[in-house]
């Protein structure tokens, strides 16, 4: 079973995303900010990260930049999932090493196709 780390400061969003991903046969863990996500990845590198942008303590983009520099940190497929929906943010995310980008609001179809496109499904 593939693993996915769901990173979002909203407990509701994490719950919804987790439910969708578990239906897609992912084993999910959660983190409420970038710092907690770093700790989770240091302990156990997931196959996928679903990543919010704006979070307290450490933002999603900051987490992504650090993750890609970590040992083994280039491996996880990172899919942003954020309300930031302008081209500038998307380009910034891609150049920081994001594999896909979801603009909130999302549904299970969007998550499924985006995860399929990066080869996770």
């Amino acid at each position: 079973m593939k693993t996915c780390l769901v990173v979002d400061d909203s407990r509701v969003v994490r719950k919804v995303a987790r439910k969708i991903l578990e239906d897609l046969d992912f084993n999910c863990t959660e983190a409420e900010d970038g710092q907690k996500a770093m700790e989770a990845c240091a302990g156990n590198m997931p196959d996928a990260v679903l990543l919010d942008w704006n979070m307290p303590v450490m933002s999603g983009i900051e987490f992504l930049r650090r993750l890609r520099k970590m040992a083994g940190g280039e491996a996880p497929k990172v899919v942003f999932c954020t309300t930031e929906n302008d081209l500038a943010h998307i380009q910034e995310a891609l150049s920081a090493g994001a594999n896909e980008y979801i603009m909130k609001p999302f549904d299970s179809d969007i998550i499924q196709t985006k995860f399929a496109q990066v080869g996770l499904i």
Partner: protein, 296 residues
Amino acid sequence: MKPDDFEMFQQLLRQRSGLVLSRDKAYLLESRLLPVARRTGLKSLDELAVAVRTKKDETLLRAITEAMTTNESSFFRDMKPFDQFRNFILPKLLTSRASQKSIRIWSAACSSGQEPYSLSMILKDEAAKLAGWRIEIVATDLSSEILEKAKAGVYTQFEVQRGLPINYLVKHFKQRGDKWELNPDIRRMVTFREFNLLTDLSPLGKFDVVFCRNVLIYFDQQNKAKVLNGISKQIPPDGVLYLGGAETVLGVTDKFRPVEGQRGVYELTAGGAGSAARPAATPSFGTRSTLAAGGR
């Protein structure tokens, strides 16, 4: 709705678009035709039924037909057929069409344009190999309204997230307010044309590749056979046809057979290729003026 009104609408739709409407879909009539009735100044479906019976107004009949077509569509829908086109069919065509340097593709019942535009984006990736080639993507649908949307190439955030890889969004779209507009170079690769699948297909010319996905599911056996046999006459012996995941040629036509190992892709049988070699024959089923339901 009165039973004879339902039957009247059912018959009208079957004749004009091939759409088969079973009784359990009566709710669709209610939800989709009430807005048409109101636009026409009528209060109910009862009044609409009367108007259809008494006026035979072409504009009204067309509005009813268009309102009842399903325009479900997304970029790179189902993904696999597009990967298959990119990895197998296109390389084959690059070799087999090397002397004439020309490829014609038909997206039948293209709805709001996501299918032909997905093909454009794939072909754009291969632009270096296709330099000097004449690539034509013809996209047809029965609905003039949906074709206007297709031509505009403007999509909502929701639409550009369904199936469109983020790199393509960045590469080929401009953000306009809360909408995303496809760049002109991609839009220009597609020629849109209003066309009824149940009419004679020969005016469209020959195609190397035909995408006719999730259209025939709305048709009865007779119209499925008619369209498939018609397509068989518009493609060369080595042409291919893409059907939707839930569609089959089995028991419908002997002109096509599945390409082994390539789900959803069909090639002509010896009999089908034989008919393609002859001059286009008159379609075997009547000449009813009909429009085809779109379902990309």
